[in-house]
Subunit: 246 residues, 2 copies
DNA sequence: CCAAAAGTGTTCCTCGTACACCCATGT
DNA sequence: ACATGGGTGTACGAGGAACACTTTTGG
C-alpha cells in the first residue's frame, strides 16, 4: 500500500449482494427482487444495496437482509461473506465492486416488496437449469451458483443445517435440508446416528414430539446445539456413476 | 440495488492486500513490506495496492504479486481470494475497502524492495505468537491469520500442496509442506500411499531421482498432476489430548 | 390391514493408523 | 558400522453403507 492521494484514482461504488436461501414445501427457494429500471429492467436480481459511509459490508448485508425479508429478528440468522466481485464491466454504468453474502433463513415469511425494490419474491431454485426466473441481472447468476455451492459444501463439515430449521425441528426435517440442498437421498437410519453421535449438533427436547404430516410415528423434537463444526464430516454421497448423463 | 446516483454516497478506495507464503529452510515464511510513512510508519505490512480503473481485484492482486516478489512467471502461481475487509475505521485516513488474497510461491527468490515500498522481506511465520515482525499495520494481523487458516484447511481436501513445491519434487518435500503448514508430523509411509492413491495428484518422473540432503536413499521425483480436489481428504491429525496446554 | 415415517440393530467392508521391516546412501 | 530418509508390508480398529426389523400413527 503505497501512495494515498484520495483523488489519484477513480472512485468506486461498493455494494453488497445477498443470496438468501430458504426451504419451502420441500424445495430450496431463493429471495429475488424484480428490477424496475434499466439496465436489466424487468429482470430478477439478488437483493442488495450500497454501503453507508459508516458501516462495514457485514453491517450493510444484515441491514439489507432485514429490509428485504421483513424479518424482525435478523440477529441470529446465518450470514456469511462469500467473495467479492469486481470485474470492471459487471455494471455498464460505473465501476461497482460488490461484496456478496450468503444467508440462510428458516421458515420464510412473505417476501417484502420493501423499500424501493419493485417486487420481491421467493422463487424455487434449481441448480444448473434456470428456474422460474430466467437469467438474472448483472453477474448474479454466477453469484447465486457460487452461493449454492458454498452452502452445499458447508453442510458437509459444519452444523449449518440447523440454520434452515425453525427453533424446534425433527430429525426428518433436518435430513430434508441435506436432501434438498444436495439433491440426493440419505439413509434415515444412518443420518440419525451420525447427527446424534456429534456432540452439540442437536439437543433433544424432553417429552416433546410432533406428528409429521399425518402419516407415520410421531417424531421427537430437537433444537440446535452449540457446536459449529462437524467432525468427522457428513459427506455428500458421490454421484452414482451408473446413472450416466441424463 | 436501488438508487444509482454516483454522488449520493461517499466514494470508497478499493485496494488489494496479499498474504504470500513460501517455504524456506523448512519453515513457513510470509512476504512483508516495511511502511515508510504514517500511519504505522516503520511497521511491517502485507504488500498490496489500489485497483486500477480498468482491472479486477484478481488482476490487481496478480500484478502486485509480480511487482513485490520480482518473479517473472507469476501466471501459474496459486492466487486465491480470501475475503474482503471493510470495517469503517480500518484505515485512519479514509474509507478503504480491501480485498484480501492468499498466494503460494514455491522457491522464494530474493524479495524485491520493488517500487515505492521501503523494504520487502520474507520473514518466518509462526501462527499464534508473533514472529520477528511484531504487530502488523492496520488489520493485517487478522488477514494474515485468516490466510494461514484458509491455506491449512485447503491442504486437507485439495491438491494445493504442490503449489509450494518446485516443478520437480520428492514426496518427502511434499510431506514437509503439510508438516510445516500444520505444525504437525505425518507418517511418511501412510502419506506416501495416500498421495499415490489419489489419481492426478502427482506424476512420477520416470528414472529420475535425487539425493535428499546427503543422508538417506535417493528419492524418486514427481511433478504436480492435473487434479485439484483430494477425495477422500487428507485430514490434519487431531491435536493429541494427552499433551495438555503447555 | 396397509402405507408411511420414526427409531433400533446388525453385518460387511473400506480406509486410516500404527508399526515392523528392508533398501540405499553419506559419514 | 551406523544414522538417516526412502519405500513396502501388514494387522488392528473406527466408522460408513446397506438393509432387516420393530413401533406408531393415519387411511
Amino acid at each position: 500500500m503505497h501512495g494515498y492521494d484520495k483523488h489519484a484514482y477513480e472512485p468506486f461504488a461498493v455494494t453488497v449482494d445477498l443470496a438468501v436461501f430458504t426451504l419451502r414445501a420441500g424445495q430450496l427457494h431463493i429471495l429475488l427482487v424484480e428490477r424496475g429500471q434499466d439496465p436489466y429492467a424487468g429482470r430478477w436480481a439478488l437483493p442488495g444495496g450500497f454501503l453507508a459511509p459508516d458501516e462495514s459490508a457485514e453491517s450493510a448485508a444484515r441491514r439489507e437482509l432485514a429490509e428485504e425479508t421483513g424479518l424482525s429478528d435478523v440477529a441470529g440468522l446465518h450470514l456469511e461473506q462469500l467473495r467479492t466481485y469486481s470485474e470492471p464491466d459487471r455494471d455498464p454504468r460505473m465501476r461497482v465492486v460488490s461484496v456478496a453474502f450468503a444467508a440462510l433463513v428458516p421458515n420464510a415469511p412473505q417476501a417484502q416488496g420493501g423499500g424501493d425494490a419493485a417486487r420481491a419474491a421467493w422463487l424455487p431454485y434449481e441448480p444448473g437449469a434456470r428456474g422460474a426466473y430466467g437469467p438474472l441481472a448483472f453477474d448474479h447468476d454466477v453469484i447465486l451458483a457460487d452461493a449454492h455451492e458454498r452452502i452445499g459444501g458447508k453442510l458437509e463439515y459444519t452444523c449449518l443445517a440447523t440454520a434452515f430449521c425453525p427453533p424446534e425441528f425433527t430429525l426428518g426435517e433436518l435430513r430434508q435440508v441435506y436432501e434438498v440442498v444436495w439433491g440426493t437421498e440419505l439413509d434415515p437410519a444412518n443420518f440419525r446416528r451420525k447427527v446424534l453421535a456429534t456432540p452439540g449438533f442437536v439437543e433433544q427436547i424432553p417429552g416433546a414430539s410432533r406428528l409429521t404430516g399425518g402419516r407415520g410415528k410421531p417424531a421427537a423434537l430437537y433444537r440446535a446445539g452449540g457446536a459449529t463444526s462437524l467432525l468427522p464430516p457428513l459427506l455428500k454421497p458421490a454421484p452414482d456413476a451408473t446413472e450416466g448423463t441424463r
